[in-house]
Symmetry: C2
Subunit: 683 residues, 2 copies
């Protein structure tokens, strides 16, 4: 079995190596003229300043948690180290993603300027791939190296080792939570602030360099969509590895236990190699081939992984008595199907190729209120459909696992379903992460007053990835629900709960409180965006008022970009602390009072948070694309009343889809994994 | 114990008698000039036409359910008759409420015209009181007469009798569901349709007789706020009686069982007498005394009931071995406190006397998007706080009941907590229901071109009741959650489930689907409003286009009111069928597949629906009052940009607070009670 661990390590190293090569290729390209270099530097500086200050805040949090872990738990200091390692790797993944994104943006612009869209695609894609393979590589290396060290070098018992490995997951989730919340507040506060004063009050176009908030807005795309997403996906990936490992370590024994623990690492290694090869296939010969090129890469990786898992199941479980490997493969396939279906639902509800978004756009004719009502209704409907599919998937994976294993295989089936979805993360993030790079490239083109054709090329590049990105997002959300459910079941085993019985008052009170938490969290994060945006609006108004000639484009009038960047940074960091901390405090407090209540709490938070996450993400996406659909000429196009109504819908959707919604997934998982880690302290 | 049943019957008869007297007093007053008589007749006809057509639709549903009950269940035909009785009484309560409301509206206008606000208050209040005492009287009579007949006349065993009585609750809930959904769609479709074309496009004021939708709008206030609310509160009241009765019949035996079944009837009788006396205290000597007069009545009733229950507990349970009556009283007190607290939270979040609504109004300065975000955040926050209070209350009532009873007293404590809240329903509805009457009176004043002072008087009357109404709404919502929880526990006993174990895949899949349902339901009902409003808008536009001189107020140009009334009626009824039916189909289908999954489903729907109900009700209320706050002069007042932004918020809130939100409470209860009734068929 050690072979598979070593294979996992090799694949992780290969992924990091590939990321290094891609990074070199990106950096080898020109950043364009002085103005572009200057703009890219301003964005990079702002983004790095944010990360640095964020690091200070989260360090305090991580330190407190590390002390709690070290003092309250058995094997405390080992777990504490693993926790810090997870936090460090998660932060590192976000950091690397942001470095490369802020390096690739101007280079993508320049490539689009000189060689058009065919030349720009590889730069943006490689930028995204650096992040993708770094996230996946660090995640897989972290888990497998620690495992090898503890079990094979130190000879530790596997159940002890699994407990320590689980702490890596908590570290990753802690950072991801703050990165998502802080980054999400930053990006939307800057975006709303820039738009409301710039576009609406001053009447200047998006990304106009006269707008003092324009750099902050572009920084926001990086800290929210890149660094936030990097840390987020790192924790999803590690979480999906940790869930089956922790469950197997607690529930199984002997040969079955070892095989069940190694299997996820083997699947991840397979998925990594498939992703690496897939990334070589993303090469477009012509403009018409672009979309196909992206799909080629991801499809190859997914199909290879999907089929290969069947062989792996026989290799790893073939000799274990009473196990039917094909059942395990079926569980993984169910996971892939659910991920795909949830992604497809997201696409149908948020893409303007389908009638949902067109319907929302039509409602813009009767004003903003009907646009918003339509978006809310469609968002809720999409959440309802996604939950039905996921519930069916959970039942399917459970049944497959239950059939495959001689004992208690159901939850293992559910846990392993998630790893199937995330195994090819390397390439799916690459496709996802190149979107913000293209977005930033467009911003630089605008600010540097380049030819409109350049902007068109980057816009085309940006919209290209939308389909694949929507599917990837669906994968991430579905995997979060499934992983949390597996972790939740592991938690009940860890605290020795025979049942979480909804007939008992403790469980039902917990269920109420758990379902409540996502509402509280969502209220806090939306408020945070509104407050931070308000501060930004005041500052932009002040600059327009006090800096003579700024609004009229007098070249001697320089907007104070740094002030706006600073306001967004300070606001986002201050607002991130309370909601982020509550997600850890709530389960800890309830757990020390009553473990069954905590079980109810986790279940309530899981179902309520999952619904809210999809609803908010899809409603936001639908409004965004309804606006774009009108901008493309429908219902009077840009500047019409319908367009104004759609812009209002889009603004409402901003914190929905980029702050509250994406953070919710992590909240669910943080709460479950913190409960799992502290299980022994509760009982 | 029969004494208490007879007392309950006497109090029910007294309530109906009082309602009859009040109705006579209302009808004795003049309806004003010919124009007012004509307008009131048009509203009454439209409302009655809707009720008649609604009756046709729901009759089909009731017939199908009655056949299912009669064929699938033991004692089927008795239960079927009880079901039809419950449905009939519920519909009757709505019908009477609407008759009196459409009789009291013009009379309130006329009283305000001739005698000012002091003269108008008694008319509006008595109109509300007719509905209040009819609802409570019919509910208490229905349950206690059936009980007396079955047990004391026919000598049926109490557990059998309790099963049959429970069917009255299902009948009431079925009607209430359709009345709320249909009425809610009607009122908001008409409101949005009238506003968007009338106020926004044609630039004519609210309630202007030139607007073809104006009668439909006023009819809507009656079918939604009066008939819908009447049926709703009937089912709440009966549900709160049925829950402890059904639980006691299944779980207890001997003397404890009989006492536990009779106690809720005794509490209801006490509350009814207290309400009757309280209603005599609502008399204002001067303008300044109005608010105090309303409070005097409700406060007297609540305090009398709250204290009296302690005595009743000793009378009913004093001789039962092992029971501590003071514990039962404590459970009732906890219920009252929770109801009061949830009401207070609603008030704080929706009244412009507090900073929440002022904060939302302030956000109107930066446009509609920030108003909407602020309202959504505050609505969610209010839901979170309400759930925390309710969860604490459930724990408290459970603990009190558990301590009071020798065995399994916890859930009885929870069930009895709800009856405490609803015992004084007679007077609380009176205060709640006079709002729509005052609202309609204002509409008639406007349409009949009366002196602006008359409108001011009715507006003052309307806003007066807001505080008490908000508290009453909180009571209703909190009681719904508590009643559902008690019914849910009774269901688990009825199907013989030892546990609903969230570690089992069936329960967790059920939990996901249950939490999902309110989202689906909410999406469907919001869409329904949008669609029906759209049809209305088209019709109003057509009339303005095709009827010459209508917009300019040419007296020979007559708007076709009846067409708009017909469109709203048809739209509302068509849209009501699917969401309403799904609320019954879902639990039945799941129950026949897996009973534990149904348990999870009910729990998920309870927590998710409760949160959504409060969130939507309070967000809607907050937007409404933020708009009114601006109309009163803040941030530029009427016609300012801030006002326009606030109007958009209010429109978004319309289906939130008047369609989806209020229906959600009934959905939760319908699903639980249908599961309880069909329990024996599932297993």
């Amino acid at each position: 079995m050690t072979t598979y661990v070593i294979l996992a390590i090799v694949s992780g190293v290969a992924a990091l190596g590939l990321a290094f090569v891609y990074a070199g290729q990106v950096h080898a390209v020109s950043q364009g003229n002085d103005r572009m270099v200057e703009l890219a530097a301003a964005i990079r500086e702002g983004a790095m300043a944010f990360l640095k200050r964020e690091l200070q805040w989260v360090s305090v949090f991580v330190a407190v948690m590390a002390i709690l872990i070290a003092t309250l738990l058995e094997d405390g200091w080992q777990r504490s180290i693993a926790y810090i390692l997870g936090a460090t790797l998660s932060f590192g993944a976000g950091f690397v993603g942001m470095r490369i994104a802020t390096a690739a943006n101007a280079r993508t612009t320049e490539a689009a300027r000189t060689g058009g869209i065919v030349a720009a695609l590889p730069i943006a894609f490689r930028g995204g791939a650096v992040m993708g393979f770094t996230v996946a590589g660090l995640g897989l290396l972290g888990v497998s190296v620690v495992w090898l060290f503890l079990v094979n070098v130190n000879g530790m018992a596997v159940d002890k080792a699994a407990e320590i490995v689980a702490a890596i997951g908590l570290g990753g989730s802690s950072i991801a939570l703050f990165a998502r919340v802080g980054g999400g507040i930053y990006t939307k506060a800057a975006d709303i602030g820039a738009d409301l004063v710039g576009k609406v009050e001053a009447g200047i176009p998006e990304d106009d360099p006269r707008n003092p908030a324009v750099i902050a807005d572009n920084v926001g795309d990086n800290v929210g969509d890149v660094a936030g997403m990097g840390a987020d996906l790192f924790e999803s990936y590690v979480g999906s590895l940790v869930a089956p490992i922790a469950f197997a370590a607690i529930v199984y024994s002997g040969e079955l236990q070892v095989s069940a623990i190694i299997f996820p690492l083997a699947v991840a290694a397979l998925g990594m190699f498939a992703s690496i090869i897939g990334s070589f296939l993303v090469k477009a010969k012509s403009d018409a081939d672009l979309s196909a090129a992206l799909h080629r890469g991801t499809n190859f990786a997914m199909i290879t992984a999907g089929v290969g898992v069947l062989g792996l199941a026989y290799l790893v479980f073939g000799d274990v008595e009473g196990v039917k490997p094909v059942g395990i493969w079926l569980a993984v396939v169910v996971g892939l199907l659910v991920g795909f279906a949830v992604g497809k639902i997201s696409e149908i509800f948020t893409s303007d190729h389908y009638k949902k978004v067109k319907g929302i756009a039509k409602q813009a004719e009767t004003g903003p209120a009907t646009v918003i009502l339509a978006g809310i209704a469609e968002g809720k409907r999409s959440a309802a459909y996604s939950v039905m599919v996921t519930a069916a998937g959970i039942w399917g994976a459970y049944t497959a696992g239950d059939w495959a294993f001689p004992t208690e295989g159901g939850i293992y089936g559910v846990a392993i379903a998630a790893i199937g979805v995330l195994a090819t993360l390397g390439i799916t993030i690459a496709v996802d992460a190149y979107g913000p790079i293209a977005d930033n490239a467009g911003g630089i083109a605008e600010m540097a007053h380049l030819d409109p054709e350049v902007r068109e090329a980057t816009d085309a590049l940006d919209s290209l990835g939308n389909t694949t990105a929507a599917i990837a997002k669906g994968f991430a959300i579905a995997s979060a629900a499934v992983t949390s459910l597996a972790l939740f079941s592991t938690f009940t085993k860890a605290v020795g709960l025979e049942s979480i019985n909804l007939i008992n008052v403790g469980a039902i009170v917990g269920l109420f409180l758990g379902a409540m938490f996502p509402y509280l969290f969502s209220a806090m994060t939306i408020d945070a965006v509104t407050r931070a945006a308000y501060a930004m609006i005041e500052e932009v108004r002040r600059q327009f008022r006090e800096i003579p000639g700024l609004r009229d484009g007098d070249p001697s009038a320089k907007p104070e970009y740094a002030k706006c960047v600073d306001i967004a940074t300070t606001g986002a960091l201050r607002e991130m602390v309370i909601p982020g901390s509550l997600a850890v405090i709530f389960p800890l407090v309830i757990g020390f009072i009553d473990v069954e209540a905590l079980g109810g709490f986790l279940a309530g938070a899981l179902v309520s948070g999952f619904l809210l996450a999809i609803y908010m993400a899809n409603a936001g996406g639908a409004w965004d694309n309804a606006k774009k659909f009108i901008e493309a000429g429908a219902y009077g196009g840009k500047g019409s009343d319908a367009h104004k109504a759609a812009v209002i819908g889009d603004t409402v959707g901003d914190p929905f889809k980029d702050t509250s919604g994406p953070a919710m997934n992590i909240v669910i998982k943080v709460m479950t994994i913190v409960s799992l880690i502290f299980a022994s302290a509760f009982v």
